[in-house]
Symmetry: C2
Subunit: 235 residues, 2 copies
């Protein structure tokens, strides 16, 4: 019997690698992207390309207007995305790019889709070591959410709760870069940047700013892994 999985796919390197892991592990993978009013909406285009390239069985985009909740640089034009932070500052404290309760919301939506598709697993690309100080990337948070998924769903009532898989949880960015490369993730199609430069021509890939936390972590990952980084950075 084919096992199904819902894979949260932002279009970034981590979630794309997650999708590749789900495919490697034999899952029929249903990608789920969330259009939450983020500044970097071109990442949804990246998600489409990645889902197709990695053989996802489907790709759904759910619109959630998180701007109505406010509070983050990623969903508000009034808050700047931090740039050129020193390496040691990344991971210290909760940055302005934190979207309140984002992973809880994303996992809740994925759990809902898993119910509908009768999927055995939800894959999420959260990452604890290199994480930028987001509380909802921590292992204990994931364990708590697993209980919510078990107790709040029909599958859980039936004694076969949807598993929440976070295969990159303890990986460094270098390990993710290596895994992505070995699993043939189309890295150049993924988009990690919080503030990308969108090219004027339709269909062109956006450029990574190279300065936000996400760009710095991505670049350093490939560098430390000793692997070629096909990403197009502005600087």
């Amino acid at each position: 019997m084919t096992r199904r999985a819902v894979v949260l796919l932002s279009g970034g390197l981590d979630s794309a690698t997650c999708l590749a892991v789900a495919r490697r592990d034999g899952f029929q993978a249903h990608a789920l992207s969330v259009d939450y009013g983020q500044r970097h909406r071109v990442e949804l285009d990246a998600a489409r390309r990645v889902a197709s390239a990695l053989g996802a069985a489907g790709h759904r985009v759910v619109a959630v207007d998180l701007r109505a909740l406010g509070g983050s640089a990623l969903t508000s034009d009034a808050i700047d995305v931090p740039k050129d932070r020193e390496a040691r500052a990344i991971g210290e404290g909760i940055p302005s790019t934190y979207v309140p309760a984002r992973n809880t919301i994303l996992l809740a939506l994925a759990t809902g889709l898993a119910e509908t598709l009768d999927a055995d697993a939800v894959f999420v690309g959260v990452n604890a070591l290199d994480y930028s100080g987001y509380p909802d990337c921590r292992p204990a948070f994931l364990d708590a959410f697993r209980e919510v998924a078990r107790l709040g769903t029909q599958r859980g009532v039936e004694g076969r709760p949807t598993r929440v898989e976070a295969p990159l949880l303890s990986a460094t960015k270098a390990q993710i870069a290596a895994l992505a490369t070995s699993l043939h993730v189309p890295v150049a199609d993924t988009l990690s940047c919080y503030d990308p430069v969108v090219p004027p021509s339709a269909g062109g890939r956006p450029l990574h700013c190279g300065r936000c936390d996400a760009c710095q972590l991505r670049r350093r990952g490939f560098l430390e892994a000793g692997l070629p980084d096909p990403t197009a950075y502005v600087r």
Copy 2:
């Protein structure tokens, strides 16, 4: 210092009573309604009237397209809302009106808004005794979500997690009817029906069908409480 609360307000009797409880307990109450593509979207109009009547400090509507996830009679035209179910059948099994992971999604959004507003509490009108077989109305589910809210938020990291209050959890519908009446909830403004009849004139209040599970529970509640029921039922 004024304590703030986010109150999930569907526009139904239970969530309206929840809002009244939050106000009674001294909270500055910020109502949050979710437009999730439900059939009964007129309930959002009901929510607006109720928020205003009960002195909410604000009322936000967040759009989430749960139809993209599928799987429920409440969000799909392809699945019928069950009618005229016998009383003993209500509460047995999971009905087709179950929206996959709905309360997890609603609580996640409320927790996000609570972060933004720095609110001390989230109020939700879930109800375990009269619940119609939804797994995500159970006390154990709420306890699990409390852990998610504690571990996945900035407030939790700071050691002052937003509390999740479900004041109606153990109440019967008769007790809710009595509480609503004593707290001056504008009952005629609330809308519980899964399949209401919308009047042709703008501004007119929709009629309750009187036959879906929600209508039957509501009617019986007032009957058992020995209180007048101001609801306009079709039959």
